[in-house]
Symmetry: C2
């Protein structure tokens, strides 16, 4: 007789990661007609900028969204970059396999990192339109390859068809995805605002955007310097768990435990490594791959007993205060702007990160893009724009540490009424290990150190804003004061002179003195 | 000469889903010391209740959190159920392989669904403590199996070791996970509150909880009826995309297109299927597996031209208003409670769901569990408790459609000041397709139909609350009014009588009449 368990477990199945995300597309950001389209743009553009920077060129990105005749919710999305191109043999895995990529295992700051994003948009295109993605690419070797890619969801594998090759002098990659059941709108959550935010945080990127109605927008770079590339930063012993150590040990080229530690971890010299191995009591000639958990634990705790330099942060690449201000000025034309790049900090013991914050006041600040044809709309009050490694985060605002840090700030202390102030608050979190809450990467988890650092950055910026606002009020008061004297002093002088039978005195020097400014002249 | 692309793509790698979630444990809910421990409890308990219900028994769950000697942040977590047990051959895949399970492909309401949760907690235990999980299980065949399970993260495979077997009459499963770097606290986000919320939404479940200090809490069931099992509900043609149709077509047992449609979709009779196939112009003898995308599209649009019954909702299992009220009363001892189960609705055309809302006012409502030893703490104001298919959602509150629906409600209209009212608001979303925003399943995406329905349910409950609050105010006013007359009428009567030299009249009938209630007697 069968037990109930045997009966129930007949239904037991395995699934591929593609099938999982096909069923749970919302986890990748494919939820809602506007958001889904923006997510495709987001995946294409972050990949394009990462790739161009990896190739050491100034990113030049072309984005086109075209309506396809068949229906109002049917589009063709094209993203083109000027990066290194993709060798033909990798096309299938880059676009058709999830959890595959060049960025997953390097300890280096980048926009994308999981090897899911672009395959996700190929999949979403495929399940809504039934059409493969078309990839055109050249590594600059004189040959251009064009091919169609679909995902075999059951196997998590790319299927490449219709490969064509032709001669041509060009280097870069162009991805076209056909997608249905999505909507194009110039709202806060639409592609236009996404690209505008990208431009603010990436003043070195040139973006050309063609909207479905043919409107062409060129977001010019505010600088023409290629930012220095982030550098790989090996894990630091303070941020490491025993399990991390064992994973590294399996792959290291180091032959002894000490040489393994010195090779794979940062801030660990050969001498320091030997000291730690001795302290831990682990056999110094043991092969790293043979370390046990218990030995790894002893090594991790031995590291806590020796002096080490703090984790390296030189590999991180913040935007920099000057460029944040440039970006905000270029796009928002504000009256006042100020930005700060905080010094590096670490969370969970050894994971380094940097927070930057900026404010823009007046001009188009505080207003998001709305309505066709206008550059900006009429929305009032503070606008919070969030970034992680320069990539805009425009969804899942409610669950993000940046949002809660901004909300927890007492803005009245800084003279700001956030419901009416023409204010844009900018925050960028930079790290090789941004703690995203979801595979859609739109929201940062509330790690206490990260949260506190975001708060500090916001307060730094808010203090400068307060200074500006007070100066503005003082100038206005002085102008008013000057106005009063200017209005009445001449009358009094005239009357007094006429009463005294004297000549009317020159009161201009007096006016200047009383008003404390020459503003009377300007008004 | 190598192109730059060839150089860059040398770094291209594939990764397993376990490795992905090992690196991004925050996406599964493993972030923060308190939350990580609660997530382990959550995964164990939802699985245990699902399994018991699948086996048709009243769930009896034992949860133990023990301190392990080695350190203050080192615990052993045990969850035991009285379900069907697990056949020995499945132990490895159930606990050691992500994206494997019995629930992934059935179109049926359940708490868990992805086949990630329990493997995730085995992995988190393993990477923090280095220890395997221990599984003890019996299918009730007289033999009990105990084994250790670890995950081979690189391969996404379970490794079973130390298998022991012994005789014994018992059926169920007991999972023990050892975990480090977590904290036990009786806070809003801790295991105690999680279990209390589970008890509210599952009044048929018996929970025994032993805390690290040995405190034993028994959450008694408020009912002893096994809820009817949810039923599988095939997809309805209105909620289907061409891609879904092709996926179903590959696996169907139907031999013709018409029999395929009638077998795999709900509300599609043989006759209706034939009508649709004719309308679509697809060859009726075609094998389902050979359908093209274009034919699938024609079938999907043909379905829109025929009359169909609305999607079936009989398979959904809400808690029911009476049991929600029971649960709230049992745990919160409120003055007033009211709950509503709304009629089924669909989102995205054809995905059925039900929303339930309840309010509890007074007693321990509006206060979350805080502080050792007390049952509840002193937190003031409205407490929102969210559920999906009866499983508590306690994290990622900010990004959840339930939270935004509750926030968008104008509580003053219902006479409620949410910053002070002793109010607990309960919301449960029931569906085979809950649109979670993340693999951690703590937050529901803002699908417009779902959001609106949550709002309506909240307003239904809030209206009843308003009636109660007004009645309360009226009673209080009447009591005050009665109090005034009661105080002065006798004096007036006495004085008047003495002035008139008459006998003091019996004013009780008058008092009754004036006060309009007999409340005077009670006070």
């Amino acid at each position: 007789m069968k037990t109930m368990a045997e009966e129930l477990f007949k239904e037991f199945r395995e699934h591929s990661v593609s099938e999982f995300f096909r069923k749970n597309a919302a986890m990748l950001g494919y939820t809602g007609k506007i958001r889904s389209l923006t997510t495709i743009i987001h995946e294409g553009v972050t990949n394009a900028i990462d790739a161009a920077e990896d190739s050491g060129v100034l990113p030049k990105i072309f984005v086109t969204i075209k309506r396809v005749n068949e229906g109002p919710e049917h589009f063709r999305v094209v993203v083109e970059d000027n990066a290194s191109g993709i060798p033909e043999g990798f096309i299938s895995n880059v676009f058709g396999k999830m959890l595959a990529g060049t960025k997953l295992h390097r300890h280096m700051q980048s926009r994308g990192q999981q090897g899911i994003g672009v395959s996700g948009s190929v999949m979403f295109g495929q399940i809504t339109s039934g059409r493969p993605a078309t990839v055109t690419t050249s590594t600059g070797n004189g040959e251009i390859v064009r091919a169609n890619v679909m995902i075999d969801v059951d196997r998590n594998e790319g299927k490449v068809t219709n490969v064509e090759k032709f001669k041509g002098k060009w280097r870069g990659t162009r991805v076209e995805v056909e997608v249905k059941d999505v909507t194009y709108m110039r709202s806060r959550y639409g592609p236009f605002n996404y690209l505008r935010m990208t431009a603010i945080a990436n003043p070195h990127v040139h973006i050309t955007f063609a909207e479905p109605d043919g409107t062409l927008t060129i977001l010019e770079p505010a600088t023409d310097e290629v930012p220095e590339r982030p550098k790989p930063m090996p894990l630091h012993p303070w941020g490491i768990m025993s399990d991390d150590l064992l994973v590294l040990a399996k792959r290291t080229k180091g032959r002894t435990v000490a040489s393994f530690l010195a090779t794979e971890l940062s801030r660990v010299s050969k001498r320091k490594a030997e000291e730690v191995v001795k302290l831990s009591g682990v056999d110094e000639n043991k092969k790293p791959a043979e370390l046990t958990w218990e030995e790894a634990e002893r090594i991790v705790s031995a590291f806590k007993q020796v002096k080490l330099m703090a984790p390296p942060t030189a590999g991180l690449r913040p935007i920099g205060a000057a460029d944040i201000e440039n970006g905000l000025r270029q796009i928002l034309k504000p009256e006042f702007t100020y930005a700060v790049t905080r010094p590096p900090k670490v969370y969970r013991g050894g994971l380094p990160f940097i927070v930057e914050a900026g404010v823009a006041y007046g001009g188009n600040a505080g207003k998001s893009v709305e309505g066709k044809g206008e550059e900006v709309g009429a929305e009032a009050g503070m606008e919070l724009i969030r970034f992680a490694n320069r990539a805009p985060l425009i969804f899942d605002q409610g669950g993000c540490a940046i949002t809660s840090a901004a909300r927890s700030t007492d803005w009245r202390r800084y003279g700001v009424d956030i419901s009416t102030a023409p204010l844009t608050l900018f925050v960028n979190v930079v790290s090789a290990y941004v703690p995203y809450t979801s595979a859609g990467k739109q929201s940062i988890a509330e790690e206490p150190e990260v949260f506190n650092e975001i708060r500090s950055a916001i307060m730094d910026a808010a203090r400068e804003l307060r200074r500006f606002l007070y100066r503005k009020i003082r100038v206005k008061e002085q102008q008013e004061r000057a106005g009063v004297f200017e209005q009445y002093l001449p009358v009094i002088a005239r009357k007094a002179a006429s009463l005294a039978g004297a000549k009317e005195p020159d009161i201009k020097p007096l006016l200047k003195k009383v008003a404390g400014v020459e503003s009377g002249k300007e008004s």
